[in-house]
C-alpha cells in the first residue's frame, strides 16, 4: 500500500533525487599534473568543504522527501527551486575550488569536473523535468525552473568565475582559433543546408509531380543517406584530387582532394534526403479536393501553387530543413577529419593528442550548436505554420 503511494507520488522526481544522492560517492573534481596526465579524483567533501557537502546532501534529501510526498503545486515548485539551487551551488563552489587546487598544485596543474558533477547535472535535469510536468498550467514557473540554473552557469562561465576549470583554460588558450573554427563550422553547415534546400525543394516538387522521377530521386537520396559519412567523404576525395591534378586551375578555387570542397559536396548530398522527402510528402499529402476547389474557382496553376500549395506544404518542408540542419551540424564535425576545419578540428586534435579537455572543447559546443539550430528551426516551423492547420505532428 505504502509502496503504491510512493510510486504515484512522483516517481520521476524520486528517481532523480536518488540519482542525485548517488552522485555523492563519485569523484567531483579531478586534479591532474598537466593536461595530458591522468589525475587523482577528489570527493565532494575534499573538493569543496564539509559544509558545502552537507548543504548539498541536505538539499538532495529535501528533494527526496518532497518528491515522495508530492501533493500540490507548492511541492513541485520547491523541488524545482531546490534542484536549481544544487546546480548553482555546485558550480559556484567549483570555481574557487579549482582556483585553490591549481594554485597549490604543480605549474601546469589542471582541475576538471568529473563524474559526480555530470551525474548531478543529470539528476537536476530529471527533477526539473518532473517539476515542470507537475505544473502544466504555470508557464512562468515552468520557465523559471527550467532556465534559472542554466542561466546562472552560463553567467558564471562568462564572468570568469570558472576560469580555472580545465576546459575553460583550454578555451582561453585558443580563443581566436575557437572563434575561427566556429565561424567555419557555421559557414560549412549553413552553406550546405542552403544549397541542399535550393536543390532539394525543386527535386521534391519534381518527384511529387512526376511518378517516373519519384523512384530514381528517392533511390539516390536513400542510398546516399545510408552511406557512412566518413566513407562518403573518402569516396569524394579521390575523384576531386584527380580533378585537381588534371586541371590545376581548379586548385585556385579551393577544389582539392581534401578540405572544404569534398566536405561541402558530401554535406549537400546528405541534406537532400530530408528536404526532398518532406517537400514530396508536403505536396502529396495535400487534400486533392483543395486543389480541385482552387482550380475550379478559377485560380491559375501558378496561383494554386502560390496561394495553396506553398503555404500548406511550407511547415513540412521547413521541418525537413530542420532535420537536415541538425544533421549537418554533426556531419560538419566529421568533415574536420578531411581537413575542412570547424569545431570537429578540436575533437580530432584532442583525440590525436589524447587531451580530454580539447575533445570536450570541441564536442560540447557542437552539441550546443545543434541544440541551438534545432530550437531556431523549430521556431521558424512554428511561425510558418498557418493558424488554421492543426499543430504540427512533430
Amino acid at each position: 500500500m505504502m509502496v503504491r503511494q510512493w510510486v504515484t507520488g512522483n516517481s520521476v522526481a524520486v528517481t532523480g533525487s536518488c540519482l542525485g544522492l548517488l552522485s555523492l560517492p563519485f569523484g567531483w573534481l579531478t586534479l591532474k599534473a598537466s593536461r595530458l596526465t591522468a589525475g587523482t579524483s577528489l570527493r565532494l567533501w575534499d573538493a569543496f568543504s564539509w559544509g558545502v557537502a552537507a548543504a548539498i546532501i541536505v538539499l538532495w534529501l529535501l528533494c527526496l522527501a518532497l518528491s515522495l510526498a508530492e501533493r500540490d503545486k507548492r511541492h513541485a515548485i520547491t523541488i524545482g527551486i531546490t534542484a536549481n539551487a544544487i546546480l548553482i551551488l555546485t558550480f559556484i563552489f567549483a570555481g574557487p575550488a579549482a582556483n585553490r587546487l591549481t594554485a597549490t598544485g604543480a605549474e601546469f596543474a589542471r582541475v576538471s569536473l568529473s563524474a559526480g558533477v555530470w551525474v548531478t547535472v543529470a539528476a537536476v535535469y530529471m527533477l526539473v523535468f518532473a517539476a515542470r510536468q507537475s505544473l502544466p498550467d504555470y508557464r512562468v514557473w515552468q520557465n523559471l525552473i527550467s532556465w534559472t540554473g542554466l542561466a546562472a552557469v552560463v553567467i558564471l562561465l562568462f564572468t570568469g568565475w570558472l576560469n580555472n576549470i580545465s576546459v575553460v583554460q583550454e578555451f582561453l588558450g585558443r580563443e581566436s582559433r575557437f572563434q575561427q573554427e566556429l565561424v567555419k563550422h557555421i559557414f560549412l553547415f549553413g552553406g550546405s543546408v542552403i544549397a541542399g534546400t535550393i536543390i532539394g525543394i525543386p527535386l521534391g516538387i519534381w518527384a511529387a509531380r512526376n511518378r517516373r522521377a519519384e523512384r530514381p530521386i528517392f533511390y539516390f537520396a536513400n542510398i546516399t543517406q545510408t552511406i557512412p559519412s566518413l566513407a562518403l567523404f573518402g569516396l569524394l576525395i579521390a575523384p576531386l584530387s584527380a580533378l585537381s591534378f588534371a586541371f590545376p586551375v581548379l586548385r585556385e578555387f579551393g577544389i582539392r582532394g581534401v578540405g572544404a570542397a569534398p566536405a561541402l559536396i558530401a554535406l549537400i548530398i546528405y541534406s537532400l534526403l530530408p528536404i526532398v522527402r518532406n517537400t514530396f510528402v508536403g505536396l502529396r499529402q495535400l487534400d486533392p479536393a483543395v486543389i480541385d476547389a482552387g482550380l475550379g474557382m478559377g485560380m491559375s496553376r501558378p496561383q494554386v501553387f502560390r496561394r495553396l500549395e506553398v503555404p500548406l506544404a511550407a511547415p513540412l518542408v521547413l521541418e525537413g530543413v530542420r532535420t537536415a540542419s541538425v544533421q549537418a551540424v554533426g556531419l560538419t564535425a566529421v568533415a574536420a577529419l578531411i581537413g575542412a576545419g570547424g569545431l570537429g578540428w578540436f575533437v580530432f586534435q584532442g583525440l590525436g593528442q589524447a587531451a580530454p579537455d580539447l575533445i570536450i572543447l570541441g564536442a560540447i559546443p557542437i552539441i550546443v550548436l545543434a541544440l541551438f539550430v534545432d530550437a531556431v528551426m523549430r521556431t521558424i516551423v512554428r511561425v510558418s505554420t498557418p493558424k488554421g492547420l492543426a499543430t504540427g505532428t512533430s
Partner: protein
C-alpha cells in the same frame, strides 16, 4: 444558358462520356444522376474545363467555352464539391472571399459580400467569419462551401454532391435551405448526385445517365410517371408514388391547428380543442412544448400536469419539409397529424394524414 453538343470524353480506350447533348435554361436546376461511373462528374467538370472534352462543344451563354481562358471561365461559374475543399490555412471569411479577390474586388465590397453570404447560408457572420475550417462541423463546412461558390455572384453554379458528406438529418436541412436560396437567387444550377430523392426534391430537370450516355432528360414528374426505358424504370424503383411526395412541400398543406398555451386554464383548453381529440401545447412565445388529450383534461387541474412533452426536433416538421418527410414521421410516431414549426420552433400549424393521402392519390394520376 448552358448547352452541351455531342460532348465526348475518352480516356485511352474507355469512353467516359459518349456524345452527350444537354441544354439547361437560365434559372433552372438540372440534376445529373446515374450509377457510379456513368460519367456525371466528368460531364460536370467539362463545363468549367477542369476536364477538356475529347470532342464536341460546350456553350455557356452562347459562347464556346474552349474560346475562353479556363481561369476566366471558372471565375464566372460557382463550384461546390462533396469534399468541400475549404482551404485549411485560411479563415472562413478568406475562403469565401477567394473568387472576389481573384477578380480584384475592393476590400469593403468583399467584406460586405462575405457577411451577406454567411447570413444567406444561415451562419452568424460575427461567429463564423474568423473561424478556420478545422473548427467547423461537416454541415457548416458544406454551407461555407456553397457560400464560397456563390461569392462572386456567378450566374451559374456547378455542384458535385454538395450535400453528400453529412448525416441524413443535416442533409435534409441543407437541401431545404438550398431550395429556399435557389427560389431567391434563381441561379442556373447543374448538380451531380447519386441520391434519387435528392434529385427529385431539388431538380427542375433530371438528366439520367448510364455508361456515358444520357438516357432520359425530363422533369421529375415525367421521369417518375413515364420512365423512358427499362433502365430508368428500374433506376427510379417501384416506390415512385412515394418519391413524388418529395417534390411537394408541406407548406401548402399546413392547416391551423388547435393550440393552447401552457398557462391557459382548463376551460380555455376545452374551448380550444372543441370537438377534436387533442391540442398542441405551446409556451407564451408560441414554441411547441407537447400535446394534450381531451379525455385527460377532465382529470387534471392544470395543462402542464396533463401534457405529453414532445422533443420538438424529433416530432415537428420544418416548414420547408416535404410531404414525404411528413408521411414518414406520421408512420414512425403513429400520429394522424404532425405539427409544423418555423426556424425558432414556433408552431405554425399541422399537416394531417388525410391531406397526405389525398396528395398521393393526386400524384398517382
Amino acid at each position: 444558358m448552358i448547352k452541351l453538343e455531342q460532348v465526348t470524353k475518352k480516356y485511352g480506350a474507355t469512353v467516359a462520356v459518349n456524345g452527350l447533348s444537354l441544354e439547361v435554361n437560365e434559372g433552372e436546376v438540372c440534376v445529373l444522376i446515374g450509377p457510379s461511373g456513368c460519367g456525371k462528374t466528368t460531364t460536370l467538370r467539362m463545363i468549367n474545363r477542369l476536364i477538356e472534352p475529347t470532342s464536341g462543344r460546350i456553350l455557356v451563354n452562347g459562347k464556346d467555352t474552349s474560346q475562353v481562358k479556363p481561369e476566366q471561365l471558372r471565375r464566372s461559374i460557382g463550384y461546390a464539391i462533396q469534399s468541400v475543399g475549404l482551404f485549411p490555412h485560411l479563415t472562413v471569411a478568406t475562403n469565401i472571399a477567394t473568387v472576389p479577390e481573384l477578380l480584384h474586388w475592393d476590400k469593403t465590397r468583399i467584406a460586405r459580400r462575405v457577411e451577406e453570404l454567411l447570413t444567406l447560408v444561415g451562419l452568424s457572420p460575427a461567429e463564423y467569419a474568423g473561424k478556420y475550417p478545422s473548427q467547423l462541423s461537416g454541415g457548416e463546412a458544406q454551407r461555407i462551401g456553397v457560400a464560397r461558390a456563390l461569392a462572386a455572384d456567378p450566374p451559374i453554379l456547378l455542384m458535385d454532391e454538395p450535400f453528400g458528406a453529412v448525416d441524413p438529418l443535416t442533409r435534409e436541412r441543407l437541401q431545404a435551405q438550398f431550395v429556399a436560396i435557389q427560389q431567391e437567387l434563381k441561379k442556373t444550377v447543374i448538380l451531380v448526385t447519386h441520391d434519387l430523392d435528392e434529385a427529385i426534391r431539388l431538380a427542375d430537370l433530371i438528366a439520367i445517365m448510364a455508361a456515358g450516355k444520357l438516357v432520359q432528360y425530363d422533369t421529375p414528374e415525367t421521369t417518375l410517371s413515364r420512365p423512358a426505358s427499362k433502365f430508368v424504370h428500374d433506376f427510379v424503383g417501384s416506390d415512385r408514388a412515394l418519391k413524388r411526395l418529395s417534390r411537394i412541400s408541406v407548406e401548402s398543406f399546413i392547416k391551423s391547428a388547435p393550440t393552447v398555451t401552457i398557462n391557459a386554464s382548463i376551460k380555455q383548453a376545452e374551448a380550444a380543442i372543441g370537438s377534436r381529440r387533442s391540442a398542441w401545447v405551446v409556451d407564451d412565445k408560441g414554441q411547441l412544448l407537447g400535446w394534450i388529450d381531451r379525455t385527460d383534461l377532465s382529470q387534471v387541474s392544470s395543462i402542464s400536469e396533463g401534457m405529453v412533452t414532445l422533443e420538438s426536433k424529433d416530432i415537428a416538421l420544418w416548414q420547408n419539409a416535404t410531404l414525404r418527410e411528413a408521411l414518414s414521421r406520421m408512420l414512425g410516431q403513429g400520429f394522424k397529424s404532425i405539427p409544423v414549426v418555423d426556424e425558432d420552433t414556433k408552431l405554425i400549424g399541422e399537416v394531417t394524414l388525410g391531406d397526405v393521402e389525398a396528395a398521393t392519390a393526386e400524384a398517382e394520376e
